[in-house]
Symmetry: C2
Subunit: 516 residues, 2 copies
């Protein structure tokens, strides 16, 4: 016979940068998301699940940290020539959804959404190309009360999932303040003394100031450098804003080439946080005395702090912090970031703060892309995987998983009877399964129970069937005894029990209770 | 000034065949999936969430109903030339996951998974290119006990989500039986009288019979026609297997061009169901007396029925039905389908049975693609959206949604006090929000509450603040009264109440209780 040409076997691997999640990893995330959804729901936010696929046109180019356009997304061309792409965040789709359905949606529209997003970036350790986001946004509410609400809700959410008060802080800044610093610094103070302007001059100046910012590409570059304050400190940022700096590995990072005078202005601003919100606000007013937009931003920050304080969200939970920048260019007002303040050990065993797990802010222009009309919007995005990692650090989600009770099979002709046993256990709410592999080697069955982290094994052979009894093995106790018990303890605390068949469920319940 | 050239605004639309899901649509699905996950978990199945993106190579060409290869998926080429694609079901990824991680997974591996899948098909009414699946599979268990377990679990699942016993049936068939019919019919009976064969002849014959089937492309075409039995009936299938038929619209559907004799054999088989499982099994043995593989299939069906009956899953829930075909070519043993048996009205108001909401079967060759070793596997996939639609039909999920309590804003300077009210309501577990739009027009606030389906509005203006009271408006009662009350009733049953500020929460609770 002629030998057939074989096609080579496909490789069983996830694409580079993608991974699978197993068992407990899936359920603990699902539980956390359900808790978060509960808080959002109670705040009046409605669920939304938008299509994972969008037109490239609708997604736009709002991806952070991507210098080349059209980079960063997974995109493909359809037969009708349209380009489609996987969403890279949950904010761009919200803008599209609101623009598309605004006639029938309530205004303001509060919505939450959770799900995977995809980024076509170079994967690295712990950096995946598919990950979860969990967002809440309010569209159509211009008032800073909407921003304050998001901050309060974020605070409630962190506590609901298990981050105790004192272990987190929501830091709030305002992009208008930052823009004010930008104009003050780049134009030089004095020239723009708004207090000396007539109302019409003032209006024209403010329009000019705003327009200037939007068109100015350098702002994005500056934002990216300011955003590194937490990592590289004041001196580091100063170098990044001017001539550049060498990073830890010795590589040279190019700077933005601002003058020293300008860089000083920004660094002064980043360090404007004082020991109380009112002192920080006073310091900001001092820095921003020549910028109308900057003063507007400070006023908003004051309103947010007052609103939150009146509801009991004091500076132990929410603080004004000018060093919060948020890299994204689309923010137009308040920005905020939730930071976990407890220390963990990094890969090299050094203590460091856990850092940011959520962030967001006001973006008034995203919907305008579609409709031409500015629609105020503000929202927050929780980094689900980082928050889960934090909860694991704090022992708030159990890393230990209890597997099912395993009913072993001694006589494969009596499978229906084994199945009836697991059905009874399940009927009592106990997770249980019958061994479905080849039952010939009993050792394999116990190894299987071990791999499944089973708390209890049930063993019923011919003798047991004849005598209408079952053997129940406490696998947790058995393992403990095997590890460190004396012979006396071994005898006193048997880990295997013979009970009448009709006591199967109650005995298993007793053992599970004792293990808990 | 020179007019700047504008780029046209992007269109705010989902790509063709995609849609968004809002509010209740999202949460009712999430609740149903959580219920299903609960049943699967209790059966010992572990959660798995595999990557949504796979290599095209790993996905293979198992997509049903697609004639041209590489059709049916959304795929794109990476910079490194690799082709990636969105998963089109949850079974192909399971085969990849098991092959990739088999060293550390338990055997048998029971897993469940739920999430969207994507199909690059022509969209139609109610037919979307992204939809949810919810699968449970057991990999590595060759015994039909695994198939029986899946059928029992499917039955439990349907009842858990709210389909009462009697409103569904799980119909079971066996691909081996179908293959037996295929060889009997295509070769003609008599020649293959296996009872007259020696053991070695028998073995050779069975191998030949199996190999013949796998290589035979016509089987897939026949399967697709047999699968239409529910829709077009016996005569319809007979025409589709022979010369073709005209469908309702008058269009001619080409046939498979079998001989009449062959078509008769298949149609006879489709109609082999009798009034009890034992009679059906007897009828199948009669039809298949000349096929070893067919008899093996009948034996398996008998074992499954016996196992299930012994556990109390009688023919009121699970029946043997030879007309269950399942279009997919990859099934190798038992196949099953859950059908809802109650009638609904179709688009034209005609009563029809709701039909299939879940299906699955045994597929022993999917993992082999990767490893070269056959790994037995069996599983079920629930059509989440169809099942939800069924529950809506039965009134098992409420189509009525209760919105949040809306605290209206009369005095925007006192926002913090309004926020404190909603915080108190939330603290008592009540969904509540403050109106965040422009508060100037009070009518808009009540319209908003209406659009949000709010049960209660809270109204507090300067007078109320001064007197330390709040106005609470029962919007459900108010709407009822407005609709059909007499003046007397109107007076007797006020829908707006003034209560002391500190009774806000208890009064709202009372109203919500009265509405429930």
């Amino acid at each position: 016979m002629a030998k057939q040409k074989k096609t080579p076997r496909p490789k069983a691997i996830t694409p580079k940068g993608f991974r699978d999640y197993f068992g407990h990893e899936v359920t603990e995330r699902a539980e956390m998301l359900a808790t978060i959804a509960g808080v959002y729901h109670r705040y009046g936010f409605d669920a939304l699940e938008s299509s994972a696929v969008e037109t490239v046109e609708a997604l736009g180019k709002f991806l952070p940290d991507v210098d080349r356009p059209n980079e960063g997304v997974f995109a493909w061309q359809e037969e009708d020539e349209a380009w489609l792409a996987l969403r890279y965040d949950l904010t761009a789709p919200l803008a599209r959804v609101y623009a598309q359905h605004r006639e029938r949606l309530p205004t303001p529209y509060r919505r939450y959404t959770m799900g995977p997003v995809w980024r076509n970036e170079k994967p690295g350790p712990g950096r995946f190309r598919q990950f979860y986001q969990c967002d809440a946004d309010t569209v159509g509410a211009p008032s800073v009360a909407a921003d304050a609400e998001i901050c309060a809700m974020l605070s409630d959410t962190l506590e609901a999932v298990g981050i105790p008060r004192g272990d987190y802080v929501v830091r709030v800044n305002n992009r208008k303040v930052l823009n004010g610093v930008f104009t003050s610094v780049t134009r030089g103070a004095g020239k723009n003394d708004i207090d000396a302007m007539s109302p019409s001059e003032l209006r024209e100046y403010r329009e000019h100031e705003l327009r200037g910012l939007k068109n100015d590409e350098i702002l994005d570059a500056i934002l990216r450098q300011l955003d590194k304050f937490d990592k590289v400190g004041a001196e580091g940022v100063r170098h990044l804003l001017t001539g550049g700096r060498n990073d830890k590995s010795g590589a040279f990072i190019e700077g933005v080439n601002l003058s020293d005078h300008m860089a000083d202005g920004f660094v002064q601003f980043l360090q404007a946080r004082r020991s109380s919100n009112s002192e920080t606000l006073a310091r900001l007013r001092e820095i921003l005395k020549f910028s109308a937009i900057g003063r507007e931003g400070v006023d908003e920050l004051e309103q947010i702090a007052d609103l939150l304080a009146a509801q009991g969200y004091g500076p132990d939970r929410i603080v004004i912090d000018p060093s919060v920048v948020r890299g994204l260019g689309y923010y137009t007002g308040p920005v905020f970031e939730a930071e976990l303040t407890f220390e963990i050990l990094d890969e090299k065993g050094r203590p460091r703060q856990f850092g940011s797990v959520a962030g967001g802010g006001r973006y008034d222009d995203l919907v305008k892309r579609f409709t031409g009309q500015a629609v105020p919007a503000t929202g927050v995005s929780i980094g689900v995987d980082r928050l889960l990692a934090a909860l694991r650090e704090k022992g708030r989600v159990s890393s230990q998983v209890q597997g099912p009770v395993v009913v072993t099979v001694m006589d494969r002709e009596r499978m229906a009877e084994y199945q009836t046993m697991v059905a009874e256990l399940r009927g009592a709410g106990i997770r249980a399964e019958v061994y479905l592999g080849n039952p010939k080697n009993f050792g394999n069955q116990l190894k299987y129970a071990d791999k499944r982290a089973s708390p209890v094994a049930v063993i019923v052979g011919t003798d047991e069937f004849d005598n209408d009894v079952v053997q129940i093995k406490d696998l947790i106790l058995g393992a403990k005894i095997a590890e460190n018990a004396t012979l006396e303890e071994w005898k006193e605390r048997p880990s295997q029990f013979e009970v009448p068949r009709n006591e199967l469920v109650t005995k298993v319940q007793d053992i599970l209770k004792a293990q808990a």
